[in-house]
Structures are given as C-alpha cells and as structure tokens.
C-alpha cells in the first residue's frame, strides 16, 4: 500500500501526464491554489531545481554536525593536498614482505625485504620536488630501513649508507661524518628517524646523531649520553633518548622547554619511548604510560588498557600502543580517525606498528598490513591545510544564512514601505517612492563595499556578519517595495476592499490582512529570486575581501585569491568545488523562482 502511494507521487512528479482522464475529472473545478501547486509540480525543470536545491540545503544544514569546523584549525603539513584517497594504500608488493614503513604528512614510504623502496599517497612537495622521484642510487641499493619526515625521506642500505631525497634545504642532507663508516670501521645504524626539518640515526654502539635545521631544531646531543643510547624518539623540533639504564632523558642542549620536564618516575625501568609533534611518552615495565610536553589534542588522556602496553608509537597528535597480547589501542587527536583502531586489528596478533602524522600501519605476524587514519581529503585542502569539504559545508551554511536573513530584512522593509505607499497614495506614496528611488539609485556594490569598510573595520568578526546581512537587506528592498506598491494599487480598487471599508475594518488590517494575501504569490517569486541575488552579493563582497572574512568560511571567501594562474591550474580543487556547488545552488534557486512564477501566473509560461 505504502509502496503504491510512493509510486504515485513519483509518477505525478515525473510520470507521463498525457493519460486520458474521465471527462468528469478533467472538467472538475480546481481552486487557484491547487492549480498553482499542480502547475508547479508539473514543471520538470523547476522540480529538478527544487530537488537539487533541497539536497544542497540538507547538505549544508546537516553537514556541519557531521563535519564540524574548528575555525582556528590550520595545518601546515596538509597544505594544498589534492583530492586523493590513497594515503594509506600500501602497494601489493609489500604485502607479507615489509621490512619498514614510515608515514609522512600526505604520503607513506616503505621498503620491502628485498631492498626495494615503495612510495604512495601525495608526494609533491613543491613545483620541482616530488618524492616519487626516487634517486637512482636508492633504486640500485638494498634499502633496509627508511624514515619519512615532513618533506624529505631518509633511507639506509645494508652497508649503512644514508640517502636523503626530497627537500634538501636547511641541511637536511648534511649527514654527519660520524655516520659515514669506512670499510675497516663500519658504522651500523640500528634506528633511523625523521622529523619536521631534521633527521636522526642511532648506531649499534649506542651513539645518536641528528642533522638538519639547527636553528629550529635541537640537533645537538649531550656527550655524556653518547654510547648509552638505546632508542631515539623525534618530535617536531626536539627529541628524547632512552638510555641503557632504563631512564629517559632529554638529549638536546636546550635548557628549559616543555620536553625537559620529564616525569620523575622515568629514571629507570622504561621499556619504550615515542613522541608526537608536541609531546613525548614513555612506558615502563609495569605498563604504565607517562606523557609530557604540550598536550593540545588529548595526548595526555591515556585510556585504561586490559593488557600491558609494551611498545609505543607517536603520530602528529596521537599515540598508538601495542600490548603484550598483540592488541593495539590509540588515543589523542581523532580528527582523521587516526585513534580509531578498527576491530579487525585486535585479534590479528599484531607484530609491530608504524605510526606517524595521521596514519597508522599495523603489521600482523603473517605480514599483512592493517591501516587506519587519514586516507585523504575528499575534496582536497586549501593553502592553510584546511579541508575543502568541511569548509564548503560550513561555508554554505553561512552563505545561506546571510542570504536568508538579508531577504527577510528586505522583505520586511519592502512590504511595509510598499504597503503604505500603495494603500495611502498621495504624499506618502510620493515620499516613499522618492526615498526608494534614491536608495535604488545608489551604486549598489561600491556602496556596500564602503559600508563594510567603514563600519566593518571597527567591529568584531561576528558583528561583521550581521552588518553584511543588514547592509544587503537595507540596500535591496526597493524592488519589493515597488512590486508591492503596484500590486496594491491594482488590488485597492477591487470590490472586496470597498466591502471591508464599508464594514469599518481598520486600514492597517485591510492592508495586511485583506490585500497582502493576494500579493503573496508574487512576493514568493520575488523573495526566491532575491535570495539568489543576496547570496551572490554576499559572496561577491566576501570574494573582494569586504564581506565575511576568514577564518569563517563562505562560498565567496573560499574563492578569494583564486584568481591567479597557479591556483587556477595547479590547485584546481580549491576553486572548482566551491564554485561548482555555489553555481549549481544559485541556478537551482533561479529555476525554482521561475517555476513558481510560471505556476502563479500561467500567462508567463513560455516567456
């Protein structure tokens, strides 16, 4: 039964209308309202507009709940990333054949047991540097360990030769001479790490060396620790060391920073250390985890675990711990599901985990890789590393709200002014029409820019949004005013008004209760079209930088700065998606307005 009903609605909307109908049915008198509705529902183009617009509307109304926006959020590791989903796609060749994996900001690298290097994800660093261009020397060598930094990759072969490729600025390829062994006296590297702008290596003699941007990163190692180091852990600019006596120390020369304040209990019995971008963590023999540093994304909120954690791995803002029984748990930042361990991982007897940035790769005892974390950005990211999809969803909400409220403001002003002018006529009409002519005669865009510049510079971002709504509303009521006035002039002469007057109905009531409902349908058309215009104007103002300013997104200000050939060509996702959804949205609103007009005024069909 319900299914039948559904089909009939669908059939009414899109089905064949040329069915033969009973004469009685066809000749039946329809009320004007029903006729309008029928006309409207049978306008295919208009209905398509309505449906698409409703879809977009639901998308921007519900979207922000699914993809909430953090206005302060910028991420320099995710700038200008195209829409790809391959950041976690480990090549098949590595399945069961992994010797090491290292996740980078938007890519992953791995080497197989036969010494081959594989790279996946988005690897372009600049116009000229692409990490996919693996140097020939590396291709020939038998790579045993590999580490990915922010924009460079470090690898070692079985003879402990170090290779660096990617961005080599700031001494990222200046490998210390101590790490270059001779044939007589070879240096065996046991651990290789890469951070934001520096890299580090640990030899089997317990000596650690760091190189890279010495101005930003604390790359020197205190002499007293050399020879006793068991493990190194690298944060964005700093590192910490696990010594052979089971203690954790801050190895650098900086006297006092968030990392030097290591918890007291960590002077012995530590089994593993790890670091995120801004924090460091250690786990002791009892399985207790300590976190210190600048915890910004809940890195310090270590969850309770059933088993004893034995190994720790750090991403950019999250940690992953491997437990004694082979289970894995993650905590910290979960904005890209990097702390959401999939159910299949637990119970798969995980052997080791490679975590970094927003990705996790867990390898089980059979060599199978389980991944979780950031796969990619559905619509790419902008120049501040913000997700374009999130901004489109939230920007749409802002754009539509501003459009709707400005339409309401101009409707209120327009109806009152037009109603008064049309009904009273004479001097009132004269005055109101002159005022509306002056307001309508103001050059719209320059004037709106001016108001926004003069008043907007002195108020907060949020007030500025209301200012834009008011400016748009106050400047665009004249059309509605003129329309209402003309309609009322025509309606005023009709008999029902005379009847109402004869009955002693108050004038205000006559205007707003007796006359206005007759004008409502035309008003609806005008309001719909004005809604599109207001959205366009808001976006234009924002595009020029005088509307709603970032970080609040709107469809207009997402396109600010897109008018240069680099963005247009290379970062196409930054303008194509907002422009497309905005274009489709305004087209649909206009289609809808046209359809309503055709329904209300059948004479206009075909115009």
């Amino acid at each position: 039964m319900a299914k039948d009903k559904k089909q009939s609605i669908f059939g009414r909307l899109f089905g064949n209308r040329n069915k033969t109908v009973d004469v009685m049915v066809e000749e039946q008198i329809q009320s004007p309202g029903k006729m309008m509705l029928n006309n409207f529902l049978h306008n295919k183009l208009g209905m398509t507009g309505v449906i698409v617009f409703l879809l977009i509307f639901v998308f921007v109304v519900l979207g922000p709940y699914i993809l909430p926006i953090d206005l302060g959020d910028t991420d320099n590791t995710q700038q200008n990333v195209p829409p790809i989903q391959s950041m976690l796609s480990v090549p098949k060749e590595l399945d069961g054949n992994i010797s090491a994996i290292s996740p980078g900001p938007t890519f992953g690298v791995g080497c197989s047991k036969d010494g081959k290097v594989y790279i996946w994800g988005y690897t372009k660093i600049t116009d000229t540097i692409d990490l996919k261009d693996i140097p020939d020397k590396v291709k020939e060598a038998n790579i045993v360990d590999i580490a990915a930094g922010y924009d460079h990759i470090v690898a070692i072969d079985d003879e402990s030769n170090i290779y660096v490729w990617g961005n080599r600025r700031l001494g990222q390829d200046r490998v210390p001479s101590e790490l270059k062994g001779t044939k007589k006296n070879p240096v065996n590297i046991v651990q290789l790490e890469a951070g934001y702008q520096f890299s580090g290596a640990l030899t089997d003699e317990g000596k650690a060396y760091f190189w890279g941007n010495g101005n930003m990163c604390d790359v020197d190692v205190k002499k007293q620790y050399q020879g006793h180091i068991q493990k190194i852990a690298i944060a964005t600019y700093n590192y910490c060391l696990l010594l052979d006596d089971g203690s954790v120390v801050y190895g650098g020369v900086q006297k006092d920073n968030a990392f030097t304040r290591i918890p007291e209990n960590l002077s012995s019995g530590v089994v593993d250390i790890a670091a995120t971008g801004e924090t460091m963590a250690a786990v002791d023999e009892a399985g207790k985890i300590y976190v210190w540093g600048n915890s910004t994304h809940g890195e310090k909120d270590v969850p309770e675990s059933e088993s004893r954690p034995v190994e720790l791995y750090g991403g950019r803002y999250h940690y992953t711990a491997l437990m004694e029984n082979g289970d894995v748990f993650s905590w910290g930042d979960d904005s890209h599901q990097q702390a959401d361990v999939p159910a299949e991982v637990n119970g798969a007897a995980i052997d080791t985990v490679y975590a970094g940035f927003y990705q996790n790769y867990a390898v089980d005892v059979n060599g199978k890789v389980h991944t979780w974390g950031l796969k990619g950005h559905a619509l790419g990211t902008d120049n501040m590393g913000r997700d374009v999809l999130t901004r489109i969803v939230n920007g749409g909400k802002v754009t539509m709200t501003v459009g709707a409220i400005s339409v309401i403001i101009s409707l209120i002003i327009g109806i009152i002014m037009g109603g008064l002018a049309g009904y009273f006529g004479g001097k009132v009409d004269m005055l109101i029409m002159r005022v509306s002519e002056i307001v309508g005669g103001l050059p719209f865009l320059p004037f709106a820019l001016l108001l926004s510049a003069i008043i907007g510079s002195r108020i907060s971002v949020e007030l500025r949004m209301y200012l834009i709504m008011i400016v748009l509303g106050v400047l665009s009521w004249t059309g509605i005013c003129r329309l209402i006035r003309a309609q009322i002039l025509a309606e005023r002469e009709k008999e029902f008004v005379l009847a109402a007057q004869a009955m002693g109905v108050r004038e205000g009531t006559i205007i707003f209760k007796h006359i206005l409902p007759n004008v409502l349908s035309i008003l609806l058309v005008e309001a719909t079209l004005l809604f599109a215009t207001c959205m366009l104007t808001e976006s234009t103002l924002s595009y020029l930088g005088f509307g709603i300013t970032p970080p609040t997104p709107t469809w207009g200000n997402m396109l600010t700065g897109a008018n240069n050939s680099i963005v247009i060509q290379q970062y196409w996702w930054r303008w194509v998606f907002p422009a497309a959804i905005f274009g489709v949205c305004t087209i649909c609103i206009n289609l809808m307005g046209d359809a309503i007009r055709d329904a209300v005024d059948p004479k206009s069909i075909g115009r």
């Binding site: 005669g441 050059p443 274009g583």
Partner: protein, 339 residues
C-alpha cells in the same frame, strides 16, 4: 519635451545633493581627525597645554568645529573655504588629496577613469549588440532549437556570479588554450604608439570583455525575449499581419518599438550594474580602472580618494538614469504628454 527634460534634470540635481550629503555624512562617521594628524609630528616637542591650544586653534581654522551642513557645503563648493575664503570644492573640481598616492584625487583618478569608461563602453556595445538580436530571434522563433538552448544557457549565465565565470574563462582560455594574457592592461615594457597601442590594449582587455559580456547576456536576453513575446501577442500585430505588412516590418517596426519600453527600464539597472560590476572584473584581471583603484583606496583607508570615486559612481548612475529617462520620453510619446 523641454519641460520634461528640465524637470528630470532638476530632479537629478536634487538627488545628487541628497546622495552626496548622505555619503559625506557617512564619511564623517570615520574617526579621523585631520587636525590631530597634522599636529601629530609636533606633539612630543610641545607641552600638553600648548598642544591642546594649538589643536583647538587648528580645528577652528580648518573649520572642523562647524556643523555638518556647513562642512558639506564647503566640501561641495557651495560655501567659501575658511582659510582662503574662496569657493573651492567638488563643483570647482577639487576632490581633496589622496593620502595613499600623495597626489590630488583628481590626478589619481584621471588614468583609471579613462580605462573604466573604455572597457565599459566596449562591454555595452558588445552586450547590446548580441542580446537584442538574439532576444528578438528567440521571441520570433519561440520554442525553436536556438530558443531552447538560449533559455537553458542564459539561466546559467545570470545565476553564476561573474567572478566564477571569470575563473572558468581564465582556466579555459588562458591556462588550457593560452589565447589571452592573464591580466594587466598592456604588454609589460612595450612602448607602442598609435594603433598598435590600441590593439595591444584591446588584446589585453578582450578576455575581461568576453566575461563581462557573458555575464550580462543571461538577464538581458531573457528580458528582451519576454518583452518581445508580449509585444508580438498584441492585437495590433495581428492587424498588421492581416493587412499583409511584411513580416520584417511587423517585427522591427510594430513589435520592437513596443518591446523597447520595458527593455529600456532594464537597461537602467544593467548600465549601473556594469559599472559597479567592473569592480569585480578589474580586480580579478588586474586592470587599472576605477574599480581596482576603489578597492586599493578602501584597503588603505584613503578616505578622500574613496569619497571621490564614490561620487564618480553616483554621477555615473545618475547620468545613466537621466539618459534612460530621456530616451524613454523619446521612445514613448505618452511619457512626454503625461508629465
């Protein structure tokens, strides 16, 4: 007709003074004090009391303590300046001094004004030259292939904001096809003269022109078409056809004259729109016109320059309205008689 024209011109002046007064009042909301600015350099060298006295004197001298109306009259050039005692305001051609360019506003504006008018005249000719024949054709061949295509195409044209059109056109014609330069007003470093300079300029502004034309095609074509359909459905058209008047004469003489009236009304809005619309185009294509200058002035808080440009836009819109009104009277005899 003379009475009608005089009436319109009188009304135009009234509106001009009201609008300019509103603008001037608006600018006076800006918390900026020229007297303080002038004395700022000496502030440290002076004692507070002396500074305060000098400041008060300067304010009095500059006429800042007078009422808004008096200051407006001075700025407009209707009342004598306090310092010189002469009429020296907007009506005498003095628009003030630009803070940012350190020049008289009138000098700053000279170059860009020419460019903007140059671009807009071309855009107007192009847009009218395409939309009117197209609209008439679509109305006459209603329901035909070209008509249906135009109906769909134009709704896209007027729904999409012009800067998005510009981005798409840049992508297609500059990035993909490489037919046009991306922005600017002429080949950098080249010093052409005469016709060569003209062609060079035309080459550089051709893409902006195409975008502007495309942007105005949508609304205009639809409007021309619908008013032409209305005109064609009138009784006198049937009569004319029944008499055996040639179809061309029916369309262009009987119908078009009637369709022209609503079209002219639209052109008011559109003509103003194209001038303010060029703010976007000039900024997107980096053209040295009034729109770009306006944004520069706003961004640098150069208020006197902004006010000057704002007055330019106002005058353009008023003159536009006047021209349209007059042509309305010219086309429709009823307007002349009634008013």
């Amino acid at each position: 007709m003379t009475k009608y024209i005089l009436k319109r011109i009188g009304y135009l002046f009234l509106v001009f003074f009201i609008v300019s007064f509103l603008m001037y009042a608006l600018y006076n909301l800006i918390p900026e004090d020229p007297a303080r600015n002038q004395l700022e350099a000496q502030k440290k060298a002076l004692k507070p009391e002396v500074y305060q006295r000098m400041y008060e004197e300067l304010r009095e001298e500059m006429g800042l303590n007078d009422s808004l109306v008096v200051r407006y009259a001075r700025w407009m050039g209707l009342a004598p300046q306090k310092q010189t005692g002469k009429l020296d305001g907007l009506l005498e051609g003095n628009l003030g001094k630009s803070n940012y360019f350190k020049k008289d506003v009138i000098e700053v504006v000279q170059g860009p004004i020419g460019n903007t008018i140059f671009i807009n005249i071309f855009a107007t000719i192009l847009a009218l030259g395409i939309t009117i024949p197209l609209g008439i054709y679509c109305a006459v061949h209603k329901g035909g292939k070209l008509d249906n295509f135009t109906q769909v195409f134009t709704i896209i044209g007027y729904s999409i904001p012009i800067y998005i059109t510009a981005l798409v056109f840049i992508y297609v014609f500059v990035v993909l096809l490489g037919w046009f330069p991306i922005g600017g007003m002429g080949t950098p470093g080249a010093e052409y003269t005469g016709m060569k300079a003209f062609w060079d300029k035309l080459y550089y502004i051709s893409l902006p022109l195409i975008v502007m034309t495309f942007g105005s095609l949508g609304g205009m074509t639809r409007y021309v078409r619908s008013s032409m359909i209305d005109a064609l459905s009138m009784d006198h058209i049937k009569t004319a056809r029944a008499k055996g008047v040639k179809e061309k004469v029916v369309i262009y003489s009987h119908a078009w004259r009637n369709a022209l009236l609503p079209v002219i009304t639209l052109i008011i809005g559109w003509f103003l729109g194209i001038f303010s619309g060029s703010v976007i185009i000039e900024n997107t294509f980096n053209l040295n016109g009034m729109g770009k200058l306006y944004i520069t002035a706003l961004n640098n808080h150069d208020w006197e320059l902004t006010l000057g440009i704002q007055m330019f836009y106002t005058v353009v819109s008023l003159i536009g309205a006047l021209v349209i009104d007059l042509s309305y009277g010219l086309v429709d005899p009823r307007v002349r008689i009634d008013k």
